[in-house]
Amino acid sequence: MRFNGPVLFLDRSDINTDEIIPARYLTEISKEALRPHLLEDLSLEEFDPRADIAGKRVIVTRSNFGCGSSREHAPWALEVNGITVVVARSFARIFRQNMFNCGMLAIELPKKDIDSLFALGDKVTIAVDIDQETVITKVATEVCCKFTLNSFDKALVQAGGWLAYADKKY
């Protein structure tokens, strides 16, 4: 997976899994069926799921993203919309683990870095380099944020997820 592209900014903390993908879609048994419903119930002023999500590859948000239920439908709903990276101040544990288990990235940055990303405004493109552990924005003023990835989480992403990793090792 490549981890770069246009950013969707979600300026709120505690965005929960019911907002990412509502429970009423949990009867679906294919990931693709989740696609039109990503962030459908998000409480955020002026957010228009259809217009705002299109073409985005990265989410930048505040703290405790993905709190609530254990549903892996949340990362899947992101994945089928082409979003494979979430950059946040912090994550809920299960959501963060689900992202890495799917071979996707949940990157935690200090508040000042998150603030500086938000300060860039819309139309920002981000590139995440896993080896260098950096988030780089490509706008007039380039911002480079350093993050640290837990070595196990990194191994999961490189293996293509936890199932592939565990099948080989255990």
């Binding site: 019911d18 048994i29 683990q97």
Partner: protein
């Protein structure tokens, strides 16, 4: 340096240490329900990995939407049912024997002190009430759990929550945990285990301890945990009597899991609950909590009694004390979903079901029901529900609906008044 109960359980189950920060644990019980498991089963089948590591250690229930409400949920149930049969999983609970997973599995004696337990459900933390490490996980973790019997965790730190004082009349475990979540906030315990101890916890029944641990996830915790003691041993006795000479022997054996006196905690919080009032949530986050008196007069359209938080026999008994000889208000509809068939039967035998029905409640089969707004009891936009469940997220019980979380006694009193009320006025 001493160890916490969680560190002891981790040490006893360590399969691998893939990094300084992570461990891979052997899992004693993998629990499955029909919402998160079928998609794992389908994926395993597509990969040609339709196996289970040990059918005895897998426990399966259809509980979220049961009986199935449409073709999609019928398909989910069928995938789970066929898989359980194909893999010779004998602890499979279908219609007639099914109930809310986190109430049903403890009742069957599946959870023991020192166990590691996983399930594709965030309220798996409930089972920590037995002195187990029990954590909610996603589908990929579930697939690996089913296939290999292992799961990876970051090493969690432990937050010690000491509950002191004496609970007043009309105040219950639900009020205590709401108060704690208010203080910690929705991510105050993220990546941490909440260890509940102190005289109030020691005096609690297993039911009350499960209510406490159930909502640990609402503060972001990996798990809630209580020390396994005589209360635990007595609850489990029918299932462990072959193993121990008597209850005392079990109590003694359980002590090996207790946190050491010199164990290290990342934080220690003391809650004196002597002056605690009944609590209620007012917003869309479980840490938005107030004294119920501050919300008095808020009209409700529906009252829901049930769920893995408060659908157990003790909850029904407590609510019935308020409902006995009373009727619910005209503006309210009220639903009771006993959490398990055993709870239902017991409530029938004790005459509680009659009290609920005479009061005007509709009684459903054991199921998650209205808790997650997927089957029955869904709210219309603009409607308000007083609920004994654990989540008040926007849209949880139906798009545009509002849920106020409270104890069963508070919910019963609210049903009678037709608006939120301090239940002590009716006790």
């Amino acid at each position: 340096m001493g160890k916490t109960i969680t560190e002891k359980i981790f040490a006893a189950h360590r399969r691998d240490v893939p990094s300084d920060n992570n461990v891979v644990l052997d899992i004693d019980v993998v629990m499955c329900h029909e919402i998160t498991t079928p998609i794992a089963i389908n994926d395993l089948m597509e990969r040609g990995m339709d196996r289970v590591f040990d059918p005895q250690k897998i426990k399966v229930v259809i509980d979220h939407v049961t009986p199935s409400k449409d073709s999609k949920t019928a398909t989910q149930a069928k995938i789970l049912r066929d898989w359980a049969r194909r893999n010779r999983i004998k602890d499979f609970f279908d219609i007639g024997a099914n109930g809310v997973c986190h109430a049903l599995f403890p009742e069957k004696g599946f959870i023991r002190p020192g166990y590691t337990v996983i399930m594709g459900d965030s309220h798996t933390c409930t089972h920590g009430a037995f002195g187990a490490f029990a954590a909610g996980i996603g589908t990929t973790d579930l697939e690996v759990g089913i296939l290999k019997g292992v799961c990876s965790f970051r090493l969690p730190e432990t937050m010690k929550i000491v509950i002191t004082g004496k609970l007043g009349k009309g105040v219950y475990a639900k009020d205590v945990i709401l108060r704690i979540i208010k203080e910690l906030t929705v991510n105050g315990a993220t990546d941490k285990v909440m260890e509940f101890c102190g005289p109030v916890v020691d005096a609690m029944s297993m039911e009350a301890r499960m209510t406490l641990c159930n909502m640990a996830i609402e503060a972001g915790a990996t798990c809630g945990v209580c020390m396994p003691d005589r209360v635990t041993a007595e609850y489990l006795w029918p299932f462990i009597k072959e193993q121990y000479a008597d209850v005392d022997a079990a109590v003694n054996d359980f002590k090996k899991w207790h946190s050491d006196a010199d164990a290290r905690y990342v934080a220690e919080k003391i809650f004196d609950v002597s002056n605690l009032n009944p609590q209620v949530t007012y917003g869309f986050k479980p840490d938005e909590v107030k004294d119920i008196a501050d919300m008095a007069g808020t009209r409700v359209d529906q009252v829901y009694m049930g769920s893995c938080t408060n659908g157990r026999i003790e909850d029904l008994r407590a609510a019935a004390t308020v409902l006995k000889g009373r009727r619910i208000a005209d503006n309210v509809r009220a639903i009771l979903s006993p959490a398990t068939p055993q709870v239902f039967t017991q409530a029938l035998e004790e005459g509680l079901i009659k009290i609920f029905m005479d009061a005007g409640f509709c009684v459903t089969n054991p199921t998650c029901g209205a808790c997650l707004g997927m089957s029955n009891g869904v709210l219309a936009a603009g409607e308000v529900c007083a609920s004994t469940t654990n989540r008040n997220f926007n849209g949880r019980m139906g798009k545009g609906g509002m849920v106020h979380l409270m104890s069963p006694v508070s919910a019963a009193a609210t049903a009678v008044r037709g608006a939120i009320v301090d239940p002590r006025e009716m006790m």
